[in-house]
């Protein structure tokens, strides 16, 4: 393997001061929620560790995860790729093609058995003997199985790899199957979102490299640090929800005031993701801030929970006994708009308290 390049050495080579480097560590540690010692631990890791090989395979997908990853501002994608990891295979950006590309996979499996990370973007079609995705003349499933078997850990990028996403929406014609359902004995981290937020993707990688362990995961194998709170919990428009101030139709006065998009179908109340806290494109915005409701793209099965512009309590498929239309109708007649909103909020909260155990049961079952 020759010399071992650490992240710190490379940033210093590029003329970045030690002070800036430590500032970067502090900022990243804060985003990762690592506590008071986090920055020091991160800095130490980046100054001492060699780069871990990563194989980044693509199944049925649209490459939005790769594109998102390249948008990362801290750390920069260039720094990750050139300094933090060794991204030996990623068909979106790699120089080699054909036989030269294929050889890399077998070389890494041979030379780094049990010591490389497999990153998977997209999912694996099982219908028609897996021939809906052919790579190197073979079903993608075969390439995936070989690479998965000897990996140290697997990162399932995006909703495709985590839970199926759009091609697994009903009727799932290709029988697109998420990664964790096809892997045994190798830990899997799901990083859902269509795509996931860039700094969440690079945050997961930095965390693994820094602490040399998997982040703490929830029952859907998502890192708790990024997926344990709802968009609604941290939304900058939340005060308008609580105050009963809603956008009633597109481009109305409420929309111009930045009021709550709940009535326009916003899925913020049922979506566990960091959009409202970390934000998109280096916190430039997130969907609600730009005036459109959340469509819940990090949630399993979200495509089948439409129409997206129908407001949440109309969604019966989660086992909600009382739908909020009834609640809202009573509220609107008897109590007026502001109180309706509060009732709505109560219903939503109740739904979520109820939903958790069902969610756990649901996720053990394979989807169609």
């Amino acid at each position: 393997m020759g010399g071992k390049t650490t992240f710190y050495e490379v940033v210093r080579q590029r003329g970045i001061s030690r002070r800036d480097f430590l500032g970067f560590c502090a900022m990243t540690a804060t985003y990762l929620g690592l506590g008071p010692d986090g920055a020091g631990i991160l800095a130490h890791a980046m100054q001492t560790k060699p780069r871990i090989p990563v194989l980044w395979l693509h199944g049925l997908e649209c490459t939005c995860c790769s594109e998102s990853f390249l948008r990362s501002g801290h750390p920069l994608a260039t720094d990750i790729v050139m300094s933090m990891i060794s991204l030996d295979y990623d068909d979106t950006i790699m120089a080699a093609a054909g036989d030269q590309a294929e050889a890399i996979i077998s070389d890494i499996i041979r030379d780094y058995r049990g010591a490389y990370i497999l990153a998977v973007e997209g999912n694996i079609p099982l219908a028609n003997d897996g021939m809906a995705c052919i790579v190197g003349g073979r079903p993608f499933k075969h390439q995936f199985d070989e690479a998965a078997k000897h990996a140290k850990a697997i990162i399932a990028w995006g909703t495709c790899a985590s839970s199926g996403c759009v091609q697994a929406a009903k009727p799932n014609p290709t029988k697109a199957t998420p990664v964790h359902k096809l892997v045994q004995h190798v830990p899997v981290i799901n990083v859902p979102g269509c795509p996931p937020i860039a700094e969440v993707m690079t945050g997961v990688i930095s965390y693994i490299l820094t602490y040399d362990r998997m982040p703490e995961l929830d029952n859907q194998l998502r890192p708790k640090m990024f997926y344990s709170q709802r968009v609604h919990d941290k939304c900058y428009r939340r005060a308008h929800f609580d105050a009963g101030q809603f956008v009633e139709q597109w481009d109305d006065e409420g929309a111009r005031q930045g009021w709550c998009l709940y009535k326009m179908g916003c899925r913020g109340p049922t979506t566990y993701n960091a959009c409202a806290s970390i934000g998109w494109n280096e916190n430039t915005s997130f969907p609600i801030k730009s005036g459109h409701g959340c469509i819940g793209c990090s949630e399993e099965g979200f495509w089948d929970r439409g129409p997206f512009y129908e407001r949440l309590p109309d969604m019966h498929q989660w086992g909600v006994e009382s739908n909020a239309d009834k609640v809202a109708a009573i509220g609107a007649a008897a109590l007026g708009v502001a109180v309706t909103a509060q009732l709505g909020a109560t219903v939503v909260q109740r739904v979520f308290r109820k939903r958790k155990p069902e969610e756990q049961a649901e996720h053990k079952e394979p989807t169609e």
Binding site: H58, A95, D99, S290
Partner: protein, 599 residues
């Protein structure tokens, strides 16, 4: 066959050595290319195999048409947004919805930002390594590199010290033995012609462009909330404007947001004009022979649907900033009219695709298409174990269908757009094209080539960066005149819709002409079909044996070493392939079929 001549005028000979490149990397999606080379290693036969499909159209059936944009946007995350744009336009066309002028301008801004981003990333991160030898950069003189940089551009990152730092960084990477994405590259290949200094300069800009590209898409994030996959809206845009009043700071578009996008657009224009274009010209000047190789269909048949309406709800050529039209048999004096609604114009054929039509091999217009998955390998397919060594182009061999315009195989993309705009007399495009050809001392016909395609994309990137600034100024002017409307909600409620409707929406994606055809019945999607740019370009043969743009462009290209297929990558990458998905699948009920391929 050993040697045949196709009806569209190409001679194919599959008697020589067969080579497969799979995966073709630095593209979107999964593509395989097979070629036969003769004894002099010149390509004499080419086979383009689309190797994935995802089945989105049956998934769309029965859904709310206002949701369709979100589904189809997931066809591609690289040219993110283009399918959403085509989709909202298709639904608006079907339902007769007129969008406000600001919504049209904002969509243009988002779409132009994508052009700038996508073309830049394509050049540096998907295509440059076909021309730039990263390892050669290690032997460059930083001082000479600095001189070279300063001779071609006022770009400030030009000191010898800067290039020394970049060189040290690459040295460290190579020295570590862990080359990451540069592992197993074709370094030292005899087809690389750049001097070490040009290589070092290009490597520096590879890194700079990767760091800068994330800024450009923030324009999409401002209006759409995120990128990739911003949010869209049937009837307009969701990003409401509040420039003057209470609550403006919490509104999607306010003065701070306008300042942000203005700043980004300025910086993007600077980067394109001071880095991308000078690099493109510098690299091209060392590879002049590549203005001869890779023509294919380019000098014959070009197609563009046109885009960027300057007037909302007006897609006539007098409104479109990039015009619609077709050029046939290289006659630039005659621009043919293209009608996406005419059932005799755009048709798709499947004799060599993994689909079948009931009872006939006739072409079908997308509104009336029916398709059934039919994964079957030709009898001459060669396999070893689970691995297909060679597909049989005599049989079915791709998930890509063969679309034809009035029976012609067509090339689409930036080259087609620039040539069609040129032929229609677009002044700025003429200036850009003529100026560039003059600098390189090349005739107009040099455009019909691998580097012609690459150059057209760069020039279009510059055009888009200029137009982006103009559209932002237009939005600013409209707001100043008191117009802040962004959405038309008259027909938002499904109860206002006709019981049955059909529409077509289209746009020019960075990779070429993109069309979506929708049928709506009882407030739901009855049928949804997409014909996408790479379907045209990566098309397999049709029933008459006409070959598509990729296959045609590879013919006659000489290879230095067929086992290291750099030349094939050059030709194929010049099209910027996007093999996102192919979705011609039978409906779940076995009844009416939902059609579409997406490639």
């Amino acid at each position: 066959m050993t040697q045949v001549t196709t009806p569209n005028g190409f001679t194919l000979d599959n008697s020589g050595r067969r080579i497969a490149i799979d995966p073709v990397t630095r593209i979107e999606g999964h593509l395989r290319i097979e070629v036969n080379v003769d004894s002099a290693n010149v390509i004499r036969n080419a086979v383009s195999v689309g190797t994935m499909w995802r089945g989105l159209e049956p998934i769309l059936k029965g859904r709310d048409p206002r949701d369709a944009w979100a589904f189809v946007q997931r066809i591609c995350g690289v040219c993110t947004g283009v399918h959403a744009l085509a989709s909202v336009r298709a639904v608006e066309d079907a339902l007769g919805i007129k969008i406000p002028a600001n919504a049209n301008t904002i969509r243009n801004i988002m779409h132009l930002a994508l052009y700038v981003h996508d073309h830049l990333v394509h050049f540096y991160h998907l295509h440059a390594l076909d021309w730039v030898d990263v390892v050669s950069a290690l032997s460059a003189s930083p001082k000479a590199t600095s001189d070279l940089q300063q001779s071609i551009s006022p770009w400030p990152n030009a000191s010898a010290g800067y290039f020394k730092d970049i060189q040290d960084r690459v040295k460290k990477l190579v020295g570590s033995g862990q080359l990451g994405p540069f592992r197993n590259g074709y370094w030292g290949h005899a087809a690389y012609k750049l001097p070490p200094e040009a290589n070092l300069m290009a490597v520096a800009h590879y890194i700079e462009a990767l760091n800068f590209q994330r800024e450009i898409v923030k324009i999409q994030a401002v209006f759409g909330g995120k990128n990739p996959h911003p949010m869209w809206l049937v009837g307009g845009v969701a990003s409401t404007i509040n420039m003057h009043g209470t609550g403006a700071s919490g509104a999607p578009i306010n003065v701070e947001r306008m300042n942000l996008i203005t700043d980004i657009a300025d910086r993007a224009h600077t980067f394109i004009s001071q880095v991308y274009i000078p690099d493109l010209l510098a690299i091209a000047s060392y590879y002049r022979e590549w203005f001869k190789y890779g023509d294919g269909l380019a000098s014959k048949n070009l197609l563009a649907y046109g885009d960027f309406p300057s007037k909302a709800n007006d897609d006539s050529n007098s409104s479109l900033l990039l015009p619609r039209g077709a050029i046939i048999n290289g006659d630039l004096t005659k621009l043919h009219e293209v009608d996406l609604r005419d059932p005799t114009q755009i048709q798709e054929f499947v004799p060599h695709s993994w689909y079948s039509y009931a009872g006939s091999n006739a072409g079908l217009h997308p509104w009336d298409g029916q398709t059934e998955l039919d994964f079957k390998l030709g009898e001459k397919t060669r396999k070893t174990g689970d691995k297909i060594e060679a597909f049989d182009e005599g049989g079915k061999y791709s998930y890509v269908k063969a679309p034809r315009w009035k029976g012609h195989a067509m090339e689409t993309g930036p080259l087609a757009r620039m040539v069609i705009a040129y032929a229609s007399g677009n002044r700025r495009v003429k200036e850009l094209v003529d100026g560039t050809l003059k600098k390189l001392d090349l005739p107009l016909t040099a455009l019909f080539s691998t580097l012609g395609r690459t150059a057209a994309r760069g020039l279009e990137g510059l055009w888009a960066a200029e137009q982006l600034k103009e559209e932002i100024a237009n939005l600013q002017a409209a707001i100043k005149s008191g117009n802040e409307a962004t959405a038309n909600t008259e027909k938002w409620a499904p109860s206002t819709w006709p019981r049955e409707a059909k529409g077509v929406g289209y746009c020019e994606a960075p990779r070429g002409a993109l069309g979506h055809w929708i049928r709506i019945k009882d407030e739901k999607i009855q049928n949804y079909q997409c014909v996408v740019p790479t379907t045209w370009n990566a098309s397999p043969r049709d029933a008459q044996g006409n070959i598509g743009a990729y296959e045609a462009a590879l013919l006659g290209v000489p290879m230095v070493n067929p086992s290291k297929p750099l030349e094939i990558l050059r030709v194929i990458h010049s099209f910027d392939p996007c093999l996102a998905c192919a979705t011609h699948v039978i409906g779940p009920d076995g009844g009416e079929l939902t059609v579409a391929k997406i490639l």
